[in-house]
Symmetry: C2
Subunit: 393 residues, 2 copies
């Protein structure tokens, strides 16, 4: 994986971003919600008055959701091991991304999110650290923790904490992908459950997409990693990939990407640049759907995919139609969870979130199966869908 | 220790504080320093531009102080084991106080402080948790962690982290106490180093005061705990108190508070209400100095101390002159440390901070040996003093 960001010679975003971060001194600042001007203000916000909410919470811990920022706070937690296209750059170097995530939570869902970057990449140490700080927050957003450790970290924290835990690289991506697919089948007239789906990449996003599609009843899924299709005869599979092998590729297709994608309806790329050729697209079913999410260079450029017959094309980029952007998911999901004071997040909530995102596009077309990342109606709709489920409505 | 806050029937602060905390939903909110309105804004604050500061930090970790909130952030860390007069109430219940501390950091020193409350009271687990999250912040403020664990927690973190660590209940209190004493000796014409000091209470604050006064050359110090004077013949002393016994009470005075305070110049109370009688004050040297910091009910009420001949009286309360309030210390101290990007805090910096606080009172009088907690000149002066030392000036 390249360690240098793509040179952006058009807009010089890279150089200007460093300058901006230096000028502002980072992105996250805090502010007081309560006034602090007079002695009276301080006697309510701090001593002696503050002893009262403390005492009440000590007698009923749920009151922390009434009296403290726990009702509105999310920790964006990373060890810096899988950041953007840079890979394993460590905790301090991941801070600009984690601060960015925090301010996006604030902008899109008015959530008070803060970065928490960790000084170890040991699975148990990460789990223990998050468990230790968990009383502080209403939810945990895991970010940029590399596979396969991220699966165990998330699994254990979901089990052992009483606040929701979501690894956005997994489920945010999966939710928005599902939303796009829900509309793409409308546009192409395909049947969702009958889709033949090929997923290139078995990392965080790929694994989460597999599970979500299976939950939604998609039966035909073939997955490739860098060595080819994941099938039951392979002897080199990690535990996660063994599970994938048991859940997918029922025909035990062997070979590479070209073999896997032939005659499929959907190509989902969460892998590497330029691996999908026009010939491969032509080998797919009629009206193929191409979600090429390798960023910044997709598995195939949209124009090339279209030339080869693709009906609906989505990428991770903002300069093409149908941007699969996790910002459509994570703010609204956590907003709904916090509103409901939910102790967990479920697959049903992910599906409901995807439906809410998809439904924001009133009339899907080839060029619009996903709402714009800036559409301010999305987060509230997602929040409502998740909150309703969390409240048992 | 009483678990119920003092009933405040005059102003009803307790009830109104709970109502205010509920109305506002806690105190800390976050805000974005960088604009996030346009695609261009997002391309600088987030992808693709943000990859650049990330990459630069990965090649030079000190740049985190240029590009991220690390340059301005402090974690207010507690396990909720020693909160106000409520004692051990646990992490969630301590949040209103920790949020309060955070917004005071912001108000007085423009520091972006956030609460971090921990789900264990085990010394090693606390140390490990803070080490794990330390890359996120420019400094750590330990708060309301009970003695004696707080001493080991702070000692180990100071040793093992490369950012400053301060337990405010120890050193904030000690710094402001020292500042008050520096001016009290001017008012009474006493010699600082010749002061005979009696300290009632050997918890966090008491221990820190002992070390700071010894560093400042005070030779005669006698300390009492709940069982009487700490002296070398006692067989029941914890390791901390054994060290205190070796550093203080050279005459090996035995007995109780009355025996200890007789013929002293200074009484420093960090203990319990109403334990210092007028007779005890009369038994002290001429022009006795009384710092009665048990809060909300001091060891002796100021009027009673004055009737018994006290020259300078300070308490922890805002409704009497000379309030010993840690807010005079911790914002400016951390402001100076962050400005210098200091990796540590030293006793010399504590002394410099105390001098800066004391010097804010141009002409000390009996009724004014300490600046007002609202004096906005204090934090910048403290910051400058600490920053100069941290920079080696």
């Amino acid at each position: 994986m390249s360690r240098k960001p793509m040179a952006d010679t058009t807009h010089d975003y890279n150089k200007r971003s460093s300058e901006a971060h230096k000028r502002y001194g980072g992105k996250v600042a805090i502010t007081s919600k309560m006034p602090l001007e007079t002695t009276e203000d301080l006697s309510l916000a701090y001593t002696p008055g503050v002893a009262q909410p403390c005492m009440e919470i000590s007698e009923n811990v749920a009151l922390a959701y009434d009296y403290t920022w726990k009702k509105n706070s999310v920790a964006v937690v990373s060890d810096g091991s899988a950041v953007l296209g840079l890979g394993n750059i460590g905790p301090e170097a991941s801070l600009p991304v984690m601060e960015g995530k925090a301010v996006l939570f604030k902008k899109f869902a008015d959530i008070d999110a803060v970065p928490v970057v960790l000084d170890s990449q040991d699975t148990e140490e990460i789990i223990q650290a998050v468990k230790m700080i968990a009383p502080t927050y209403g939810g945990i957003n895991l970010e940029d923790i590399s596979a396969p450790r991220c699966f165990e970290v998330e699994r254990r924290l979901k089990k052992e904490l009483s606040i929701p835990v979501m690894h956005d690289d997994q489920h945010g991506t999966a939710v928005v992908t599902l939303a796009g697919l829900m509309n793409a089948v409308k546009v192409t007239g395909k049947s969702f459950k009958d889709l033949k789906v090929m997923i290139n990449g078995a990392g965080s996003a790929g694994v989460a997409i597999i599970y979500l599609l299976k939950h939604m009843g998609v039966d035909y899924i073939v997955v490739c990693d860098s060595r080819g299709t994941i099938h039951k005869n392979r002897t080199d599979l990690s535990p996660i990939k063994q599970e994938i092998a048991s859940l997918t590729n029922k025909k035990n297709t062997e070979g590479g990407l070209a073999d896997a994608v032939a005659r499929c309806d959907v190509f989902i790329g969460v892998s590497a640049p330029n691996v999908l050729t026009q010939q491969m697209v032509r080998s797919m079913n009629n009206d193929p759907i191409i979600f090429a999410m390798s960023n910044p260079v997709p598995e195939i450029m949209p124009d090339d995919a279209k030339k080869a017959g693709a009906r609906v094309v989505a990428t991770g980029r903002s300069d093409f139609p149908n941007q699969i952007n996790n910002v459509l998911a994570f703010p609204g999901i956590f907003r709904g969870l916090l509103n409901a004071r939910s102790s967990e997040i479920t697959t049903a909530m992910y599906c409901a979130a995807a439906r809410a995102i998809a439904d924001q596009v009133e009339t899907p077309t080839e060029e619009k199966v996903i709402p714009s990342a800036f559409d301010s109606n999305v987060a509230p709709a997602v929040a409502k869908a998740v909150e309703d489920l969390a409240r048992g409505n």
